[in-house]
């Protein structure tokens, strides 16, 4: 029971992303190799890998929705529920821990008034304690969406958050 592979008439993605996906599936020796990049790029645009995203990507790749869900549950960056507009990811792994990662997390919780894996009521920020993000020598480090912020202090973190808050106000 393989779903129809070729026609995906009513795309939920922007024309640019749809075109990108049309190309992506042709680049690999097997179509399915495009799955993880597609899920991540779709999530970036839609805000989450929700049911509609899963259904369309399953169809584009030619696998079942269950197969897609199976993959999503494995990868920590993929999420089925939306995050805040700015997802604040605080690393507390060993190198960051030694340079104040835990304190940074506590500070962000207090500043944003939310706990781990929660979103502010205005939807601007969400917070997550994450594992090593590969910025160990510039610890403590935080990633907001895909942007790295290195060598942080609580004062610098306040400025970072304020900057994002203003960005949210403008858009």
């Amino acid at each position: 029971m393989s779903p129809e592979m070729n026609s995906v008439p009513n795309t939920i993605f922007s024309p640019e992303l749809a075109a990108r996906f049309d190309k992506l599936v042709t680049l690999y020796p097997a179509r399915r190799s495009a799955l993880i990049p597609m899920l991540l790029y779709a999530q970036d645009e839609v805000g989450a890998v929700n049911d509609a995203v899963i259904a369309e990507i399953a169809q584009r790749i030619g696998i079942t929705e269950l197969d897609v869900r199976n993959v999503i549950s494995y990868y920590s960056l993929l999420h089925t529920k939306p995050h805040g507009k700015f997802h604040v990811q605080v690393c507390t792994n060993i190198s960051c821990m030694l340079r104040g990662g835990n304190e940074m997390l506590a500070h962000c919780k207090e500043k944003l008034g939310i706990g781990n894996k929660e979103t502010t009521p205005d939807g601007i920020f969400s917070l997550e304690e994450v594992e090593c993000i590969g910025a160990c020598c510039w610890a403590p480090a935080v990633q907001v969406n895909y942007d790295f912020h290195d060598n942080l202090t609580t004062e610098k973190m306040d400025a970072v958050l304020e900057n994002y808050r203003q960005k949210a106000g403008k858009s």
Binding site: L27, Y28, P29, A30, R32, S33, A34, L35, I36, P37, L39, L40, I61, N70, V71, Y74, Y75, S76, L77, L78, T92, N93, I94, S95, M97, L98, R99, E131, C132, I133, G134, A135, C136, C137, W138, A139, Q143, Y146, D147, F148, D150, N151
Partner: protein
């Protein structure tokens, strides 16, 4: 942007172009780029593999397998297409060297991939970067696009008849995918669950074809080795440990950063001279020498050379060369808990010793940390960790067990002291409650 550091003791080979704008192809070529590839095309695959063998280059991901030998295992004739797969899923806590390679010299990765492809007879290479490195993936994509524009990738490269295609690929967050067989599963669009070996990837790899999988630093070293010659590269390091290494020094040091030093460089010197010693006049307590999975060294054990063999003799590993420095203020109990929390989170759950082992270690360590620990817990945790060793599908189980064994072995006193200092729980309290209920 991450800060670049420098120290007179450094021997800059693979970090030579950093900070000079070499992510742009014109700058890369101006600084000598893609000359090694031309040379390899002229000399042919056998010459390349011999140079690699002579160089003494060993896998920079952590296992330290000789790269030239790995390449030579790929069968010359194959019905299925062969592939090169670059492992840029850099996720070992304490490690951020590939981050800088991708940022400052992505073309060295592309060139190394092409040379590996030439050597094994592959026409396609995949450069897999962890999903968190989105800005680096974009840099890599631009670098690849420039190569296609200049005819450095594609058909008939430099008019020599050599064809090669390369593609960057994003992960989506998974430490386990850094294991080579899980990496292949992930690239094929699946959960990153390891494959049973044998067959090894050199024989049956990506899409069933023979595949060479190398760490990004290993691959980035290749053009420099070709340029300077395998023998000259080997001489930079120690016996059977050729060349230089990107050491990422983090934690309680004055000048953390990624430093390129010869293989075999003394760890004590690295901490006190290169990284500027311990801040605030504190004393050194311990060092995790090669990323979170490597057993810890006590302060009195660090007068040792940083290469694969000397680290092995010292009872630990060189690993990914992420040197994490702990001063006297750090609690080993807290550090051990954070370490096992990580491995428990990252265990893929496929095999039982790892899934259950990391989970019970975390549960016991959590209870211990909260002040409910007993002496028996220390013995139990060590016994559990020792029984995970070598009993899992992939090295993640070992990576979790080894550091834990190290903490219990080297710092047992501190665990015992922790129990004495935190007498919050009378023994068998839980049982009393159960009976009472």
């Amino acid at each position: 942007m991450p800060e670049l550091v420098s120290h007179p003791e450094e021997v800059k080979v693979i970090s030579r172009r950093w900070g000079q704008g070499a992510a742009d192809i014109d700058k890369y070529i101006e600084l000598g780029g893609y000359a090694a590839l031309r040379k390899c095309i002229e000399q042919g695959p056998e010459w390349v593999i011999n140079e690699m063998k002579t160089s003494g280059l060993r896998g920079r991901g952590g296992a330290g397998f000789p790269t030239g030998m790995k390449w030579s295992f790929v069968p010359k004739q194959s019905e299925k297409p062969k592939y090169v797969l670059v492992n840029g899923d850099e996720s070992e806590p304490g490690t951020c060297k590939d981050h800088l390679i991708f940022l400052h010299d992505p073309h060295s990765v592309i060139e190394g991939t092409m040379i590996a492809g030439l050597a094994i007879g592959a026409k396609v290479g995949f450069i897999y970067l962890r999903g968190e490195y989105r800005y680096l993936i974009e840099i890599m994509e631009r670098a690849l696009a420039q190569c296609y524009e200049r005819g450095i990738l594609g058909k008939n490269i430099f008019g020599t008849g050599f064809d090669f295609d390369a593609l960057s690929h994003t992960g989506a967050g998974a430490y386990e995918v850094g294991e080579e067989s899980a990496l292949m599963e992930s690239l094929e669009g699946k959960r990153g669950v390891p494959r049973i070996k044998p067959p090894f990837p050199a024989v049956v790899g990506l899409y069933g074809g023979p595949t060479v999988i190398n760490n990004a630093e290993t691959i980035a070293s290749v053009p420099f080795i070709i340029e300077m010659g395998g023998a000259a590269y080997a001489k930079l390091g120690t016996e059977r440990n050729g060349g230089t290494r990107l050491f990422g020094i983090s934690g309680k040091v004055n000048r953390p950063g990624v430093y390129e030093l010869p293989m075999g460089y003394n760890l004590k010197k690295m901490i006190y001279e290169v990284a500027g010693g311990i801040p605030n006049g504190k004393a050194l307590k311990a060092v995790v020498p090669g990323g979170a999975s490597c057993p810890i060294l006590r302060a009195d054990e660090i007068d040792v050379g940083m290469d694969f063999d000397q680290m092995g003799k010292a009872g630990t590993m060189l690993g990914s060369a992420g040197v994490v420095v702990l001063d006297e203020t750090v609690s080993i109990v807290e550090f051990a808990l954070r370490t096992i929390k990580f491995y428990q989170h990252e265990s893929c759950g496929w095999c039982i010793p790892c899934r259950e082992g990391t989970d019970w270690l975390k549960k016991t360590m959590t209870r211990f940390y909260e002040g409910y620990g007993t002496t028996k817990d220390i013995d139990n945790m060590r016994y559990l960790a020792e029984n995970m060793l070598g009993r899992t599908f992939c090295p993640l189980g070992d990576a979790a067990a080894m550091p834990m064994i190290g903490f219990f072995k080297k710092f047992r006193d501190e665990f015992e002291e922790y129990i004495r200092a935190n007498p919050s729980a009378p023994e068998s309290q839980a049982l009393v409650e159960l009976v009472g209920a």
